[in-house]
C-alpha cells in the first residue's frame, strides 16, 4: 500500500519528519543554554574601571556595582539605566563587595582597609570595623545578606562567618577536612553554599551547620563564583574560560554558554555571578568593565 499510494507515502514522511523534529527539539532543550543577552550595565562618563562585585537590591529593584579600582559604588535602575555613583567623598579604599542593611545603610568590604565599612547615607556617617574572630583579624572577602543576617567569607581562616548587628561573628561554618580553598559563597534555600576552587566542589550547610554531601564539578578550569537557581541548577563561573557552566544538583553538566573575549557573548576575566530580582542571571565581567544580564 505504501508503494502504491503516494498520499500514504507522504503521510509517513510527514510523520517521520515531525518525530525527528520533536526529538531534536527535546535534545536541544537539554543541551543548549536557554539564556539570552538582555542588557548591560556600563556606567557613565569614564564608566567603571574594574567592577568586582554586584549587589541586587530586591526591595528597591536596583543594582549596585562595586568598582574596586575606581574606588566607587555605581547604582543602576531595574531597566539598567545608570543612576548615580557613590565614593563616600573619596574615602572608599578599594571596595570589594557590598550589601544594603535593613536600616538602609550600606555595608561595604573595603579591601584597602580590610574593614567592613557601614555607610549611613542619611546622616553621611562612615564607620570602619576590622572584624575579629577567636582573637584573630578576619580577612573580609565576599559578603551576603539573607533573611536579615549578614555573612562574610574570611579568607584568612577559610570560614564563612555569620555576623550580628554589631558585626561580631555569632556563628561560623568551617569547611570539611581536606578542603581546598574557597572562592565564593551564596545563601539560598536556607543553606550556605560554598565553592571550593581548588577541589572544584560545592559544599552546602543548613542553618544548624550540618553539611550535605559535596557536589563534585567537572569540565571547568578556574571556578570563581556560583549562583543557585531556584529551578534546581547550580551555575558556576569559569574565569579562565570566560564561561558559565550549569550543573545538576549531582554535579552533572547540563550545558554551558559564553566564551572568553571582548564581544557580546564573551567574558574577559569575569568575577561574579548572581540572580537578580527578576530571576535574570547577572555576570560581573571585570575585564570588559560591564555587568552582563541574561534572561531565559
Amino acid at each position: 500500500m505504501l508503494r502504491k499510494n503516494p498520499r500514504c507515502r507522504l503521510g509517513w514522511l510527514l510523520f517521520f519528519g515531525m518525530f525527528f523534529s520533536a526529538s531534536s527539539f527535546v535534545w536541544a532543550a537539554e543541551t543548549q543554554s536557554p539564556w539570552k543577552f538582555d542588557l548591560s550595565l556600563q556606567g557613565q562618563g569614564k564608566g567603571m574601571a574594574l567592577p568586582v562585585a554586584l549587589y541586587v537590591d530586591h526591595e528597591k529593584e536596583r543594582y549596585y556595582v562595586v568598582d574596586s579600582t575606581g574606588n566607587k559604588l555605581v547604582s543602576f535602575g531595574a531597566d539598567g539605566k545608570y543612576l548615580q555613583e557613590f565614593t563616600a567623598e573619596g574615602n572608599l579604599k578599594k571596595p570589594y563587595d557590598m550589601v544594603r542593611l535593613a536600616d538602609g545603610s550600606l555595608l561595604v568590604v573595603e579591601r584597602g582597609r580590610n574593614s567592613l565599612t557601614r555607610v549611613d547615607l542619611k546622616n553621611k556617617k562612615t564607620t570602619h570595623t576590622v572584624v575579629k574572630h577567636q582573637g584573630q583579624e578576619v580577612f573580609v572577602d565576599r559578603l551576603e545578606i539573607a533573611g536579615g543576617k549578614v555573612y562574610v567569607l574570611d579568607r584568612s581562616s577559610g570560614r564563612i562567618l555569620q555576623l550580628d548587628e554589631t558585626l561580631q561573628p555569632v556563628k561560623s561554618y568551617a569547611m570539611p577536612a581536606g578542603a581546598g580553598w574557597l572562592a565564593d559563597f551564596k545563601v539560598a534555600e536556607k543553606k550556605v553554599w560554598v565553592l571550593d576552587q581548588k577541589k572544584k566542589q560545592v559544599y552546602s550547610y543548613d542553618e544548624n551547620g550540618r553539611p550535605s554531601p559535596a557536589i563534585q564539578l567537572t569540565g571547568i578550569d578556574f571556578p570563581v563564583s556560583l549562583a543557585i537557581d531556584p529551578a534546581g541548577l547550580l551555575y558556576v563561573l569559569d574565569r579562565h574560560r570566560g564561561a558559565i557552566v550549569a550543573f545538576g544538583r549531582n554535579g552533572e553538566v547540563k550545558y554551558q554558554f559564553l566564551s572568553k573575549g571582548q564581544g557580546r557573548d564573551n567574558l574577559y576575566f569575569p568575577q561574579e555571578i548572581r540572580f537578580d530580582h527578576l530571576g535574570r542571571l547577572c555576570v560581573v565581567d571585570e575585564g570588559n568593565s560591564r555587568i552582563m544580564v541574561f534572561k531565559r
Binding site: 574596586s68 577559610g158 572562592a183 568593565s289
Partner: protein, 390 residues
Amino acid sequence: MRRLVIILLIFGLFTGLACSVALANEVCYKCHDKKNFSGKFTHGPVAQGKCGDCHNPHVAKYPGLLQGEGATLCYSCHKRSKTEFAKGVVHQPVRDGKCLGCHAPHAAGHDGLLRKNLAETCFVCHQEMAKPQAVSHKPFAQGQCTVCHQPHQAKNDQLLKMEADALCLSCHQQAQGSAGHRGFPRKLTGCLSCHNPHGSSRKGLVRQHLHQPFAEKKCDSCHGAQQNTGSEACLHCHAGIKTTMMAPHNHMFAGTENGCILCHSPHAGDDKKILKTSGNKVCQSCHQDTFSRYAQSQHRHPKIDSCSDCHEVHGSDRLAMLRDDGNQVCSRCHLTQGKFSHPVGDKVIDQRTGQMMTCVTCHDPMGSPHRYHLVLSAKRELCTQCHRSY
C-alpha cells in the same frame, strides 16, 4: 576436525609472520639500513617486520609516512595506556602526546625503548637536576628516578609513587627517632619542607635557605600555643606582605590551613623566598590549566624565566594580577612597541570596554591559535572588533 583447524591456524600465523618479516627484508630494508632498526631492545612490530603497522609505504598525512600522529598512533596498539595515562597528575610529554620525547620507536639500547639511560632521559628536560650536588640522595645519585617517580602519570603531585611523607618513610623508617628530629612534637610529616629529595649542599639533604626562626631553633615563635593560626601565623611578622595582599586580586587563600605554606616552606627552601619547589612549578601546582594552554598553543610568548616577571605573586589592583598596566609590563622588554605600532595608552580607549588600549587588548601571551599570539585572526576579525566600517 578441531585439530585440523588449530593446525591450520598455527600454520597461517607462522606463514603470516614469516611473510611480513620477509616483506620487510625484501622491500623496506632494501633502502633503509636494517642496522638502524635493531638494538638490544626492539619494538615488537619492528622485530616482526610489520613496518606497515605504523607506516604507509605509499602516501600518508603525517611526516615519516606515519599512519597516525603522535600518541594517537602509539595508543592504537597500547590501548590500556591511553586510559591509564589520562588519570591523575600526568607528565607533560604524555599530556602533549609526545611519546617519542623519551622512547625510540624502532630499537634502543635501554629497557622500555628509552632513547638514553633512565636518568639521562629525564635530564633532557630536567636540566637543572643534572647539576652536581655536594650531598646527593642515593637513588638520585644512582640515576634511579623511578624509585620515587612514575614516568607517565601518578595520583600524587610531582608524579610521586605515593604521598610524599609516606614515600620518604617507606625507606627511612629510622627517621622518626633520629637525632636530627629530636623534639619533633608529633609523627614526622612534611619531610620535603626541610629536605631536598635530590641533593643539597647541607648535611642530611637539608635545603639551602632556612627560615630565620627555624635556623635559630625558635620553633615557639610560630608553633607556640599563643600564636596565631592560618595565614595570620605568617602575616603577623610579614606585615609588608599583608599590605600587598590588601588588593582586589590577591593570593590570600581561603583554605582550612595556612595559605602561605601552599607556596612557601615554613622551614627551609632552595631559594631565598623559601618556596616549596622551584620557580614556576609553585604556580603550576594551582594554575595547571594556564600552563597546559601555554604548552599546547600554536602561538605564544617565548618562554619566560619566571611568572613573577609579569605577575605580582601576592596581590595586585590589576587584572590577572599583573605587575603594571598591560602596556608597562610589556614595554619593559619590548622597548619600541607602542611607538610605531597601533596606538596604545591612556589616550586610546577601547570602545568595547571603555578601558585604555594595551598590548593585552590584542595579544594573549599565554597562547593563542593565531600568529603573534593575537586573540583573534589579524586578517580581519581582530581589527573589525573596533573598526567596524572596514
